[in-house]
Every structure is written in structure tokens, then in C-alpha cells.
């Protein structure tokens, strides 16, 4: 009998969904029973909505993924699989999701995530078996300029958000003359609602490290840092294991693979500050200071970490390098558009059915991402907008769903490509509230150096709060626009320069919602509490007193079998009555 392999996805998302219990159960069972099974752990294969996911392979049934695995039933599924009995179709992902499963796979293209959820991220041997470190070997036999030319020719653009040509950036750092140079990997991923870099690091840390070694060689750097946010303990753990293993094998450290090239790599844990994702602030933070951005020029390529030439790239950018060196620039151009070649990883979240991690070729319409790859909306509530680019980005409305994913097309909508967070919103989401949410975020995270960013965002937040409380005026819209312009002009770094984007895009596409709040004192999505009114429909109320008993401020009057009534002057709009009523008699408007 051929050996059967069982893989459990143990990335953060899987573990949070209970994958560890599943893994432990299988470990226990296999320890007690001798079975021809190899149990492995892997990371995230991207279908987070179905976690915990277990992959079976090696029996005549072929490869099979089981979704929403639970420790109680998984042993039976495994035994069946070994015996060649197909498990019930409601546990097999491909059957459960039907056509959607094919769409999900057919519309993706995996370069960055090629090993994620396939190999054991803690095993260097696994990475090597899938072609790992071959690109490094190839690179070390190439001219440094040749490598940089190759990256330039690939057209790879920085995946951290701004989309600057990676090859060009490398050429600046390579030209800088210095006794010491650094390369840095930006794994700060502060954008709320995004988890691409976490998954890439958890799932395939060696791929990022290999990219950095190649970059360091090409640019002449001998030391590197991975700046990872502390909220990602598993990513840090996997990186540590990977760095140790790579050092032991001679991929890192002195005289790499017998050449004269040496490179040391360190991990720096962030300490919780969004602005530290900005490159100059990040370097301040590595130096142990407050992470406040500095004026550019000088650019990091001339004067970065400790005043030395430094090249900083995003996790996903680094994760593309080994593939490009192995497969060539032309192969990379086979995917994507002329000006944005390659693929992009997106984190789908919010009101979408298939939330998770996907990698698609650039040039795909956003509509296909949401409806084909993402499986459409989570509930019956229709699509309203997709937020891209986090606090620096904007909301793309339904009428622009055919916009294709490339840097320039997305920028034209007023949003930005950003790092890859896509938060899908339905009609239950209030766009003014979303704008307020982001302004609250940037206002909190502004480092305080620039007046407009520090105080301007605060004023904008105050105005938005007023509007959501029904105290707005039409003149507020103009003030918001004016403040936005000034904040953009008067801020030193990208945080301030892009902070107004969430307000500007919602004003552009959802102005009517602002007006509804200001003029009609209504929140069409029913989110802004101050504008809500709970009342009881006398035709439906049977007088069961369920709501009155739940009301925390006892503002519902009415005795048994009598129609109840809410005292509007006392109501705190908590919604407890709405949840308590079994007869749909409570109206929220």
C-alpha cells in the first residue's frame, strides 16, 4: 500500500478556527494505532472560510481537501480514506463548494504563495524539495548587474503599496558607494484588514529569505533586517526557525555556498505603531528610536539605516524574486498587464462568502475577484463597495466593479492598490461610518510631526462624528474637502498624504449617504446608532414581554398580552429588544 499523507493547515487562521485540536487528535490516534500515514503540518492554503482544513493524499481516491474539519469526526474520515471509501460529500471541499471550487482555483495564479499550504514551513528540506534555494545558486553564478537587469526587465513593482519599480530601486542602492549596506524586509503590515504578508511569512518563510539573500548579493549588502509586527507571533517563530536552518546549511552567514559573499539576517519585532510601516519611520524604529518619518531626500538608497545605503522592500516583493530569477523576466510577463506584470496577493475579508487569501494575475477585473474567486456575497444583502488600500485607500463602488487590478486603473478610481487588503461591504455598511472609522485610525496613528496630519485629521474626525450623530450641516462637506486638500499638501509622509482618501472616495461615490445623515438625519444602512429609532409594530406585537425583560434601561412599557411601547426619550438604542423579539415586531429605522 502506498504511503498516505495527511496535512493539517496550522497557520494563525487555522489555529484560531481550531486546527490544533484536529492535529492533536490525529497525532494521538496515530500514536496509538499503527497506520500507513504520514501526518504533516502546513500553513494556509487560502480558503480561510473553510478552516480547519485537512488535506489527504496517497490513496486511490486521490488528493482531497476536507473543510471545517472537527476533532470528533476527523479520525473516521481518515480511516475511510485509508480504506478507499469516499467520505461524505458534505465534508469534501471540492464537492461541497461545487462549481465555485473550480472557479476559485481556475482564476488564481500562484507565484508568491506557490508553497503556502503545500509544504511544511518549518522544514528547509521541504522547501528545497520544491526547488528552494536553486534561484540563489543561479544568482550567485550571475553578474550582479545581470540580476538587477533581470528584475528591471520583469517589471516587478513594489507590493507594499506605492508600486515603484523594484529593479530601479535596486539599481540605486547598488550604485551607492559605501563600506556597508543594508537590505530590509517590511513586514509591518499595519493596514487593518490585510493579512497577505502574515500568511506568506507563516507559510513559506524561506521564499522571502531567499529573495533577500539574492537582493543583498546584487546590491552589495552584507546585513539585513526583517521588521515584523509583534502581533504576528507565528510569523516570527517560523522566520526564526528558517533563518537558523538556512544558516546551518550555508545559505546565510559567512561565505555563502562557498563564495566570497556573506550576509547576516536579523529579525526586528515591531512594537505597535502603524506609521512604522513607512520606510523612513521603520528605519528609525530599527535604530531603536520613536518611529517618526524623516524628510526624503536623502532616500534610503543613499542614506538609510545608521546613515548607510539601504534597500527596503515589502514581503511580497521579496517573495517574487526567487521565482523571477528561476523562471526569467519573460515568464513573469506572461501574467498581468503591460505596466503591472505578475500577480497580486489579496486578503479577502468582510461580507464576502469566501474570505481568505488569494493570488490572482494582475489585470483581472475586481468583479471576478469578488464573484468568481471569492464566491460572491456572504448573505443576501447586496454588494455596496470594496475597500482597497486600507487607511490610505478608498471604497470602490458597484458601478466600478469592472475596473481591472493594476496600479494605474485602481488609482484612477481614487482608491489605491495598496498592499492587498480587500474588505467587502454590503448594504448593511454605512459609508460615513467607514470614513469615520479610518479617520479615527489615522488620527490615532499620526505620529504628530506634521501639524496638518496631527490636527487636521482630528478636525475631520470631529466633523464626521458630528455627521453620524445627526448634528452635521451641509457646509461640513465643503470643510471636509478643504481640510483634505490641505492635509494632503501639508504632510511629510504617506500617512498624512493619503489619510483623507477614505473620506474623499466616499464623498465621491456615496455623497447621497452623507446628505441623508445631514439633511434627513437618517442612516440608510442603519448603523449610526444616534440616528436609529426603535419602535414596536402594534400589528405584530403579541405582548409576550420578552423585549421589556431584556431592555437594560427598562424603557419598554406594556403588560402581558398588551401591545408594548418604547419610550423614545429613555431608549439607548442598544438593539436588545430587536434581538429578543421572536415575532419581528421591533422595527429599526
Amino acid at each position: 500500500m502506498s504511503e498516505i499523507t495527511v496535512k493539517v493547515g496550522l497557520a494563525s487562521c487555522g489555529v484560531a478556527a481550531g486546527a490544533m485540536d484536529v492535529f492533536n487528535k490525529l497525532t494521538e490516534y496515530l500514536a496509538a494505532n499503527k497506520l500507513p500515514v504520514t501526518l504533516m503540518q502546513t500553513a494556509c492554503i487560502g480558503m480561510c472560510f473553510e478552516e480547519p482544513i485537512v488535506e489527504f493524499s496517497g490513496s486511490p481516491l486521490g488528493q482531497m481537501h476536507v473543510g471545517k474539519a472537527d476533532p470528533e469526526s476527523i479520525v473516521k474520515v481518515m480511516e475511510d480514506y485509508i480504506a478507499g471509501i469516499a467520505p461524505q460529500s458534505n465534508v469534501i471541499l471540492a464537492e461541497k463548494l461545487g462549481g465555485r471550487h473550480n472557479e476559485l482555483l481556475a482564476n488564481q495564479q500562484r507565484i508568491v504563495l506557490r508553497n503556502c499550504g503545500v509544504i511544511d514551513p518549518k522544514s528547509l528540506a521541504d522547501y528545497e524539495a520544491s526547488g528552494g534555494y536553486q534561484a540563489l545558486k543561479k544568482a550567485l553564478s550571475m553578474d550582479k548587474e545581470q540580476i538587477i537587469e533581470q528584475i528591471k526587465a520583469s517589471g516587478l513593482r513594489g507590493r507594499g503599496g506605492a508600486g515603484f519599480s523594484t529593479g530601479l530601486k535596486w539599481s540605486f542602492a547598488a550604485k551607492a558607494v559605501s563600506d556597508k549596506k543594508y537590505v530590509v524586509c517590511n513586514a509591518d503590515e499595519g493596514d487593518p484588514g490585510a493579512f497577505m504578508d502574515r500568511s506568506a511569512l507563516e507559510g513559506d518563510p524561506h521564499n522571502v529569505i531567499e529573495g533577500m539573500i539574492i537582493g543583498a548579493y546584487a546590491m552589495g549588502a552584507d546585513e539585513g533586517y526583517i521588521y515584523c509586527r509583534a502581533e504576528y507571533p507565528m510569523a516570527i517563530e517560523h522566520l526564526k526557525i528558517a533563518i537558523d536552518a538556512a544558516e546551518a546549511k550555508g545559505y546565510l552567514g559567512k561565505n555563502i555556498l562557498g563564495t566570497s559573499f556573506s550576509f547576516d539576517l536579523h529579525i526586528k519585532e515591531g512594537a505597535g505603531a502603524f506609521v512604522c510601516g513607512e520606510e523612513t519611520a521603520l528605519m528609525q524604529s530599527i535604530e531603536g528610536k520613536r518611529g517618526m518619518p524623516t524628510i526624503r531626500p536623502p532616500f534610503p538608497a543613499e542614506s538609510g539605516l545608521w546613515g548607510k545605503p539601504t534597500n527596503i522592500n515589502n514581503v511580497e516583493t521579496w517573495a517574487n524574486i526567487a521565482w523571477i530569477i528561476s523562471n526569467g523576466a519573460e515568464a513573469f510577463h506572461a501574467f498581468g498587464t503591460e505596466k503591472s506584470p505578475g500577480t497580486k496577493v489579496f486578503a479577502l475579508a468582510g461580507k464576502i462568502a469566501g474570505s481568505g487569501l488569494i493570488e490572482v494575475p494582475m489585470g483581472i477585473p475586481i468583479r471576478d475577484i469578488i464573484y468568481k474567486v471569492g464566491g460572491g456575497m456572504k448573505t443576501e444583502k447586496p454588494f455596496k463597495a470594496v475597500q482597497m488600500g486600507g487607511p490610505s485607500g478608498g471604497c470602490i463602488p458597484a458601478q466600478l466593479l469592472d475596473t481591472i487590478v493594476d496600479y494605474d486603473s485602481i488609482t484612477a478610481t481614487g482608491a489605491i492598490m495598496g498592499s492587498g487588503g480587500m474588505v467587502v461591504m454590503d448594504t448593511g455598511t454605512c459609508m460615513v461610518d467607514v470614513a469615520k472609522f479610518f479617520l479615527n485610525f489615522t488620527q490615532n496613528e499620526s505620529c504628530g510631526k506634521c501639524t496638518f496630519c496631527r490636527i487636521g485629521t482630528k478636525r475631520m474626525l470631529e466633523i464626521l462624528t458630528r455627521i453620524t450623530e445627526g448634528k452635521g450641516e451641509m457646509a461640513d462637506i465643503e470643510t471636509l474637502q478643504e481640510l483634505s486638500e490641505n492635509i494632503i499638501k501639508g504632510s511629510l509622509c504617506g500617512l498624512g498624504q493619503t489619510a483623507p482618501n477614505p473620506v474623499l472616495t466616499t464623498l465621491r461615490y456615496f455623497k447621497d449617504e452623507y446628505i441623508a445623515h445631514i439633511v434627513d438625519k437618517k442612516c440608510p444602512a442603519g448603523v449610526c446608532t444616534a440616528l436609529l429609532k426603535y419602535s414596536i409594530n402594534p400589528d405584530k406585537c403579541i405582548g409576550c414581554t420578552a423585549c421589556a425583560r431584556k431592555c437594560p434601561v427598562s424603557c419598554i412599557a406594556g403588560s402581558v398580552k398588551q401591545v408594548h411601547e418604547i419610550d423614545q426619550s429613555k431608549c439607548i438604542k442598544c438593539g436588545a429588544c430587536l434581538k429578543a423579539c421572536k415575532f419581528d415586531a421591533v422595527i429599526k429605522a
Binding site: P192, R198, E231, G270, G288, G291, A347, T429
Partner: protein, 154 residues
Amino acid sequence: MEQDFKKLDAILASYRGKKGILIPMLQQVQNEMGYLSRDCMRYIANAMQIPAAEIFGVATFYSMFRLKPQGKHIVRVCKGTACHVSDADGIKSALVEALQLPKDENTTSDMMFTLMEVACLGCCSLAPVIMIDDMTFGKLVPEAIPAILDKFRF
């Protein structure tokens, strides 16, 4: 007081003479002490010959540094975008209610729990999410909160 901080000497010694140490050093000290008190920061300043203002500046800049004593368990409620549109506010209210936090405080009076907000835990596909110590809980509804907290009341 001095005496309490003597145990930090070994930690501090391991950082002496190295570059870019302030943040990791403070992180390690915080792990040891639970939080960074003013006296503690002064002690470090003297021992390491770093201006106290610089240490205080860094400690107040980063959200990870805690300047007050913390509860035994840290409860982080995610307020990121995905969680926000999936009723993170409801989860937060349920936590505040179940923990019976004193007004304007984020640590329970029995010092068992400290409640913090975080901008995203990177598990957005499971929104809304909270993290207690190192454990993440996803796809939450407010009603599930009390039972989850009970698991940590020891």
C-alpha cells in the same frame, strides 16, 4: 525600590554596547516586570546611560509598551476594518460588560484581565476576532464572550 530592579541587571548587561537596542530591551524588561513604571525607566536610564526622556519617548510612542500594571490575562479586541464591519463594537461591549470594568479603566479590579484594542490581528477572514494571551478566537458573537472569558478565570 532599587532592589526590585536589580534583577534587571542581567537583562540590561546583555544589551550593553550594542546598536538599536532600546526597543527590544524595553520589551524584555516589560516581559520581566509586567509593565514599565517611571521608576523602572529611570533605573534603566541610569544603568544604560540613556537619557530618561529618550526612554520615556519611546515607551509612550509604541502601543505595545504599558505604563500601568496589567491584568494576568491580556484580552485584545480587534478593531480592524474587517472586524469593524462585522460588529466588533458589539463584541467590545460584551467584553466590557462581562469583565465589569471600572469606569475609564481597562484592567479589572481583581487584576485578572486587561482589555486592549488592536488594529488587526491578521485573522480577518474569521472576523470578528479577539485574542486572549496567545489564543485567537474568531467568528464571534457577543453571546459567546462570557464563556470564553470563563476559561481564563484561573
